[in-house]
Amino acid sequence: MGKLIDEQGKRTDGRGPYDLRPYKLEVGMLKNADGSAYIEMGKNKIVAAVYGPKEVHPRHLVLPDRMLVKCRYHMSPFSVEERKTPAPSRREIEISKVIREALEASILVDEFPRTALDVFVEVLESDGGSRGASITAASLALANAGIPMKDMVAACAVGKVDGQLVLDLNDVEDKEGEVDMPVAYMPNLDEITLLQMDGKLTVEEFKAALNLALKGCIQLYEAQKKALYDHYFNSPKE
């Protein structure tokens, strides 16, 4: 295993420790879905789509006082180096759950009792930090669908490589680094809606890592807003 940070402090992809990867956000490109968005984050390429609010099927799942949110995070078989079987893995099942919970915190579910909302996320290419990028895109898709939300949710991951805290892990850093900590955040309400971590951090390191993650989330939050403004209000047709 080679070093992940060189003597100049540059990471395997040339970034400094606190730099996000280059990203691209697009809104509304799928016409059938009620809302959709696309994100590129490093080599991650992820599509998010939202259908709803709509009727609940099967009927017995209906919640009388709120919207039922369903979420599916799925990796395409060709999204990784070695073909992944299309059947949902335990990892995808867990990630579907934490993504749903991260987004549900922003949606006013009580406004649509007895309805369902389907959120689909498909990872077309995976490059570390895909669950964070998925949340960032899914939140845009929700806005595109007109689902009332308290705030946008933006997410990214921090880690530790060669003893140094870094922002926005790429694939190599995710696999070979010492810590992986994805965080999703709603800046207006100052609420963390996704927080996971594995690795080893002292309590003080954890606080520094969390602050670093929030900085990354806020950057992506601004990018989300810009993407919405560009799509809806700054039309080049004028």
């Binding site: 039922l68 369903k70 979420c71 599916r72 995070y73 749903r100 919970e101 915190a105 927080l195 594995d198």
Partner: protein, 284 residues
């Protein structure tokens, strides 16, 4: 597909009483906000399993079993043993469980307990190799939830940890012919540290440790933290709401201290010596 869960209904009057008590720093069962329920651990009750432990945390009951075998190592870790953690909510654990393969809650539980054990380095997997690249020990930890009354994450973690610490497995070495052979000895797993899981539920502005099923039904969100003696090795926020960064940092700080307390309880429960006497090596 992950689907919002329908919680069992907590009656309004009880919910109001709960909130009233919280404002006074109390809970429905008389505990303080930072108190854990009585914890009891018994081990080695399943003779056919290499390790087993039953944990009662209040009324929550979990049993974990450890089975070992010889296997090929995983491709990306040819010089380490394999650790596999599974969990099931048995249908007998609650009237609301539906029969079927493990759902997202059971899968999340298994993966979070796994992380706490794996990332802490609790079991020195490098000492579980018989022939590098070919034959290693596989350690299977299977968690069965027997009765659900909240905080399954901590209870399952304590059971898994206890089962691993007290497991006794047959020793294998490479024979002259190059094949694995039993020596006839039993060994214990090489344990380096005891990871401790602490779970807090958020209800309104209050954070409570070790929530009951009722408290989980009304909570906004939850945070499970796994601690080693030096720091944190795993985190999992669960449920739909959110924590503020300030709340999280304060909680992690406090829980690191709480974990020391629980660790002592677990060590005493397992008959382990004072601090520092965790290294059991592969001899016995």
């Amino acid at each position: 597909m992950s689907i919002s869960r329908k919680n069992f209904v907590v009656e309004r009057l009880r919910k109001e009483k709960l909130m009233e008590l919280l404002a006074k720093g109390q809970r429905l069962d008389g505990r303080g906000l930072r108190d854990y329920r009585p914890l009891s651990i018994s081990t080695q009750m399943v003779s056919k399993a290499e390790g087993s432990a039953q944990v009662y945390l209040g009324n929550t009951a979990v049993i974990a079993g450890v089975k070992t075998s010889l296997d090929r190592p995983y491709r990306d870790t040819p010089d380490r043993g394999n650790l596999i953690v599974n969990a099931e909510f048995l249908p007998l654990a609650s009237p609301y469980i539906e029969l079927g393969p493990p759902n997202e809650n059971a899968i999340e539980l298994a993966r979070v307990v796994d992380r706490g054990i794996r990332e802490s380095g609790m079991v020195d997997m490098s000492k579980l190799v018989v022939k590098a690249g070919e034959t290693v020990y596989s350690i299977f930890v299977d968690i069965n939830v027997l009765n659900i009354d909240g905080n399954l994450l901590d209870a399952s973690s304590y059971a898994a940890v206890a089962a691993l610490v007290t497991a006794k497995l047959p020793e294998y070495v490479l024979s002259d012919g190059g094949t694995p052979a039993r020596t006839g000895n039993t060994i214990q797993l090489p344990i380096t540290t005891i990871p401790v899981s602490i779970t807090a539920a958020k209800i309104g502005e209050y954070a409570l440790y070790d929530p009951t099923e009722e408290e989980e039904a009304v909570m906004d969100t939850r945070l499970t933290m796994a601690f080693t003696e030096d720091g944190i090795c795993a985190l999992q926020k669960g449920g739909s709401g959110g924590w503020s960064p300030a709340e999280v940092m304060k909680l992690v700080e406090e829980s690191f201290e709480k974990a020391k307390e629980i660790r002592e309880q677990i060590r005493r429960g397992l008959g382990l010596g004072g601090q520092g006497e965790t290294d059991q090596g592969t001899g016995s």
